[in-house]
Subunit: 329 residues, 4 copies
C-alpha cells in the first residue's frame, strides 16, 4: 500500500498539508555512511531550486518556499570520531529502521478551503472520495506530489549504497513538448507558463555498473520492477527501455544486437537505458478558466502548480530506480 520493496522496505507517510511527511527505510545494512549534503542537493533538485537557491523556470512557489529539512528520528547516529575522519554531517546507519520526517512548514490548508466542494479536472479528488468515503481536500492529501520528497530521501540513501558497489544512476530531461534541445527547455517551459498552460516531458535514465545477474527470469524481471517503480510516480504515463516503442518499425536483423542491458529479465552487465514520459500538470490557469471557476487567478496565485512537472521528476526517477535496484540486488 504505502510500502515499496521488501528487502529495503520503504514506507512513505504524510499528507501534503498535514503536520509532516516522512518515511521509514528498513533493511539498510549497518555501517553505511550517509552524506547528508547529497540528500539536500537531491531535495533541492526536486524542489526545483538550483545550487544558488534560485527557482528553476516554471516551478510552483510552494516548492521553493518549503525548505524540506530532514529530521532523523532513528536508525542512524552521528559520528564525530576524528580518527575515522568523518565529517560532522555524516550519519552512520545502525542496521535498524531509518525513520525521518520533513515538516510541512508552508502547509496552508485554508488555501484549499474553496476546494472542499469542488473537484479539479485531471486530479484524483473524486476517486479518492469514492474510494475512501472521506476526503482530505487539502492540496490533494496523499495524492500530492509533495510525497515524492520522502522518496528522494530514501532513494538517495539507496544511491549511496549502490555507489559503494560501483553502480551509478543518472537521469535527465531529454524532451519538453516537441523540443529535444536541452538548451531550449527553459524557454519552452516559460512560454507555456505565460500561456497559463502546461507541457509534458520525457526523461531518460541510465544505470551504469550494474553487474550481471540482477533480476529474475519470470515475473520479477528487472524491467518489470523498473517499470513498476517508475510508473508509481505521479503523472508518469509510459515506460520503455532498449529499443522501446520506436523499435517496432525495425526488423530483428537490425536491432537484435541491442539488449538494452537486460536479457531474459536479468541484467547482462552493459548499461541499461530507459525512458519515461510525464504528462502536463492538470491544474493550470487555463484549465480553471475553462471550468469557469470564479476568481481563478486569485486561486492560482494561492495555488501551487508547475508548468512542467517533468523537470522536477528527474531526481524522483533516479530515486525510484535506486530503490528498485537495492531491492533486487
Amino acid at each position: 500500500m504505502n510500502t515499496f520493496g521488501d528487502k529495503w522496505a520503504f514506507t512513505s507517510f504524510g499528507e501534503s498539508h498535514g503536520r509532516a511527511i516522512g518515511g521509514v527505510l528498513d533493511g539498510v545494512p549497518a555501517g553505511l555512511h550517509i552524506n547528508i549534503d547529497l540528500i539536500r542537493q537531491e531535495l533541492d533538485r526536486r524542489r526545483g531550486v538550483t545550487g544558488d537557491g534560485l527557482p528553476v523556470t516554471g516551478v510552483s512557489p510552494r516548492a521553493v518556499r518549503e525548505p524540506d529539512e530532514v529530521e532523523w528520528l532513528s536508525g542512524v547516529i552521528e559520528i564525530k570520531n576524528e580518527e575515522l575522519k568523518i565529517k560532522n554531517e555524516s550519519l552512520v546507519t545502525l542496521g535498524t529502521p531509518i525513520a525521518f520526517i520533513i515538516r510541512n512548514r508552508d502547509a496552508r490548508p485554508e488555501d484549499y478551503e474553496w476546494l472542499r466542494h469542488t473537484y479539479r479536472t485531471g486530479h484524483a479528488d473524486r476517486v479518492y472520495e469514492q474510494k475512501y468515503g472521506i476526503r482530505d481536500h487539502r492540496g490533494g492529501g496523499r495524492a500530492s506530489a509533495r510525497e515524492t520528497a520522502a522518496r528522494v530521501v530514501a532513494g538517495c540513501i539507496a544511491k549511496q549504497q549502490l555507489a559503494q558497489q560501483g553502480i551509478s544512476i543518472h537521469a535527465s530531461l531529454i524532451q519538453v513538448g516537441s523540443e529535444t534541445d536541452p538548451t531550449r527547455f527553459s524557454d519552452t517551459i516559460a512560454r507555456y507558463q505565460q500561456d497559463g498552460d502546461s507541457i509534458g516531458g520525457i526523461i531518460e535514465c541510465t544505470i551504469t555498473g550494474l553487474p550481471i545477474g540482477t533480476g529474475e527470469p519470470i515475473f520479477d524481471k528487472l524491467q518489470a520492477h523498473l517499470a513498476f517503480a517508475i510508473m508509481s510516480i505521479n503523472a508518469c504515463k509510459g515506460f520503455e527501455y532498449g529499443t522501446g516503442f520506436g523499435g517496432v518499425t525495425q526488423p530483428g536483423s537490425a536491432i537484435n544486437h541491442i539488449s538494452g542491458g537486460i536479457a531474459g529479465g536479468i541484467s547482462d552487465g552493459t548499461d541499461i537505458t530507459f525512458r519515461c514520459v510525464f504528462k502536463p500538470t492538470a491544474s493550470t490557469p487555463k484549465a480553471f478558466e475553462e471550468l469557469k471557476i470564479k476568481n481563478y487567478e486569485l486561486k492560482m496565485n494561492k495555488g501551487r502548480h508547475d508548468a512542467c512537472v517533468a523537470t522536477r521528476a528527474v531526481p524522483v526517477v533516479e530515486a525510484m530506480t535506486a530503490l528498485a535496484l537495492v531491492n533486487l540486488i
Copy 2:
C-alpha cells in the same frame, strides 16, 4: 520469484523441455464455475492456432504441434449435477489451491544439444549461466516463452471471475512493423518470415467495466501494477497508457481531459486503454547466418521460432492484465 500477486497468488513452474510446465493459483474463491472451453481457446490463441486448427502466419512449428492439454490436479471438482444443469466440461473451484500441469509432449532436448556450448544472440543463455552457475540449454529452460501457457490458464480463470463482476479485457494487435492496417498484418509477417527475419508489434488492451476505486494512491498505483504485469512478458519493451509517449507534444489544455481511466493511481470508472510493444524474435535464420553458425538452415528447421511473437502475445497480455486486476480488486 516465480509467484505473481498475493491475493490471487499465481506460481508458475516448469522448464520448456522438462517433463511439464504448470502452475498453482491460490486465492480463487470457492464456487467459481470455470469454463474449460474458454481456456482451450485461449491456449490455442497463444499457440498461434485458429479455431480450425490451422497455424497463424509466422508461427513456430512446435507451438502448433504441442496440444497444450491441461491436467487439473487440485482445487477443482467436476460437477455433473443435472439439477444445476452444468456441462461436463465445467469445473467448480473448492477455494483451495488450483494446481494444473501441461505435459511437454513435443519436448526434444536433443534438438538443442548443439547449443550446449553456444550462446544465442538476443537470448538470455549467457546471463542465466552466470547467474545460476548451471545452465539448462534445452530451449531456454525457464526463459522460453512456453512458460506463458501457464499464465494463460491462470489468467483465463481470472478473466472468468472478472466477467462475473462485469469486467472485460480485450487486447489486439494494432501495429506490425510500420503497418497499422490489421488486414495487412498477415502479409507483412509473411514477408519477414520469407526473408528469414522477424518483426515487432504493438498490442493495445482495453479494460471495460472496472469500477471506481481499484489501485492504491502511492506505490501500488493501478498503472504501476499493469506495467509490472505486462513488462514481465518475454520480449516486451515498453508500456504506456492514456496519452502515453505521444502525448508529450500536446499542452495540458489539449489533453488534460484524457484520464486514461486512472486518476491518482486509482481507476475512475471509465475504460482503461494501454499499449505495449514487443520486439522481434531474436533467433532467426538471418541472425544465425550472421553468426556463421554451420548448418543453420538445418538447425532452424529443427528450431522453433516465430516471425512475429507479438501475434501470440495477445492472449498473454490479456492474461497478465486479468491477474493484475484480481490481485488489486
Copy 3:
C-alpha cells in the same frame, strides 16, 4: 523485519535511547474514530503505572518517568464538529498511513557508557554486535522492551476497530512464580525484588466475539499467527492454546470436545483462550553481583530493570493479539 502484517501493516522504528520511537500503521480504513484516552490508558498499563499515576510493584524507574506522549504525524485529523458530538480528543482516520512518534524524554545514553565494552548475561548485546558489526550499546537499542510502546499504540487502534465488530480481547496475569492467586502477585514480586532477583509469569488471553472463519487451513492457521505475534514479544518463552501442554496426559475421549475456539486453523465462533509464559528479567542486581561487575549497585540504581516483566507484558499481549487479528479478518 520491522513490519508486522500485510493488511494492517505495522512498521515499528526507534532506538531506546535515540531521539524517538514510533510506528507507521498502514491499512487502517478511513473513518475510524480513535479514542486517545484508551491509548493513554494502555500506555500506562505498559509503563506499569496505575490510574492514579502510581507505579505498580517491581517496575523500573525509567518506565514511570517516561510519560510516553504520542505525537500524531499523519493519517488522522482531529474532528471538533459539534454536530457529530465528537470529543476533542477524538481522531478520525483518513485511510492513509498513520504515523506517530513517542519522544524518548528520559533517554540517558551516558548511563550505559559502562556497557560499551561489557556484555550482559541474558541480553542480546553480543549477538547484535556479531550480526550487525556495529553495536548500539545504549540500553539495548532496538532490543529494549521500550519498543513495545509503539506496539501498544498500534494495537490499541486495532482493538478499537475490532470492538466495532463486536470482538474484544482481554489478557491478565494468571501466575507469578508458583503463585496462582492474583491477590498475592504483588507480594510475590516484591519479595523477588528485595532479593535483587526476578521472576517469570504466565499470561492468559481470551478473545471473545470472533466470528467463524478467521484463519486459513494450512500454514496461515489462526493459532500459528497468534503464536507468531505473541512469541515476537521480548522474554516470551512459550505459547499454548486450548488444552495446551497440560492436555498431553488426557485421552482423546476426555478432551476432544475442547476446541480452544479454533478448528482446522479457523475460528469456530467460540471464545479462544491462549496462554504465554514470560521469563524473569535477566539484568538484576544478583546477576551483576555474580558477574563481579564493580559498583553494580550504583549501576543498578541507574539501570532500568523490572522484577517481573510479565506484569507489563499484559497490554502488549493484547496489542499483538489485536494486530494479528486485524491482519487475518
Copy 4:
C-alpha cells in the same frame, strides 16, 4: 494462504481424496544435490512405516497403504555423469521452481459418502463449510493431515541444504500421555488403541550448528518463526523453547544462564531446543460411539485414524523447522 516463506517459498496443494497432493518449492539455489533416498525415508517416517515396511503401533491403515511416490515435474534434472560419480537417484536443482506431486492412489472418496451430511466432533468440517460455502467432505479435503506429506518432501530438501552448511535438525517423541520412557511408548499407544481411544504426545526438537545471527530483533524473531512453523501443523496445541512454561517457577538467578540458543530473537550459536505438544486424534471409535453414529465400527474399519498422531508428526516437525530456517538464514 498455502505458501510458507518468501525466500524458499513453499506452496502446498492437493486434496486428500483428489487426484494428487504436491508442492512447489521456489528459491532453492541451483546445483544442490538431492538425495532421493532420504526423502523416501522421511516419507516413511511420516506414513508410520519402519525401515522394514512394517507399520508403527497405532498408525492408520491408509497411511501404510499409500506408497507416497514422488513424481518430480520441474526444477531438477537427473545427473548420471560417471565422472561426477553421482548415483542415479540423485537429482540436481536448476535454480528454477521445484514442482512435485504425490498421487493419491488409495483415495476412496466413497468411504466418506456417509459424512456428506455429518460433522465430526473435533474436526474442521463445520467451519470449512461456513467459511467457503462449499465443502469437500472427502476425508477432510485440505484439512487432512495427508497434506503434511508435501511438507516433508520440501522440508527434506531444506534439510539437505542445511546439512551442507553444517546445520542439523533432530526431533523425537519425549512423552506420550503421562509416559516419558520412550521404550514404553509403543505399549502406551497400543493400550489407547485397544480402548478405541487416542492420546497426545510431546515432541522435542534440537537444532545444532546454526551460526550466530539467524533471526531478526523485533517481529521476525527466530522463536516467532519457529512457533509459526510448528503451530501450523495439524493438532499442535503448544510451543515452547528454552526454559518454557516450566521455567515460570524458577527465579531469574537460577535460569538466566539458559538462553535456549536464542538471544533477542537471534540465534546465539548454541543448540536450540524447543518442544511442542500434539493433541489426541479426534476421530476414534469411542468418540463415534458417544455420538451414537450407527455402525461406527464398520465406519472406523473403513476410516483412517491414528491412536497417537504425535508419532507421525516427528518428521513433520523437522520439516517445518527446516523450512523456517532456510527462509531466515
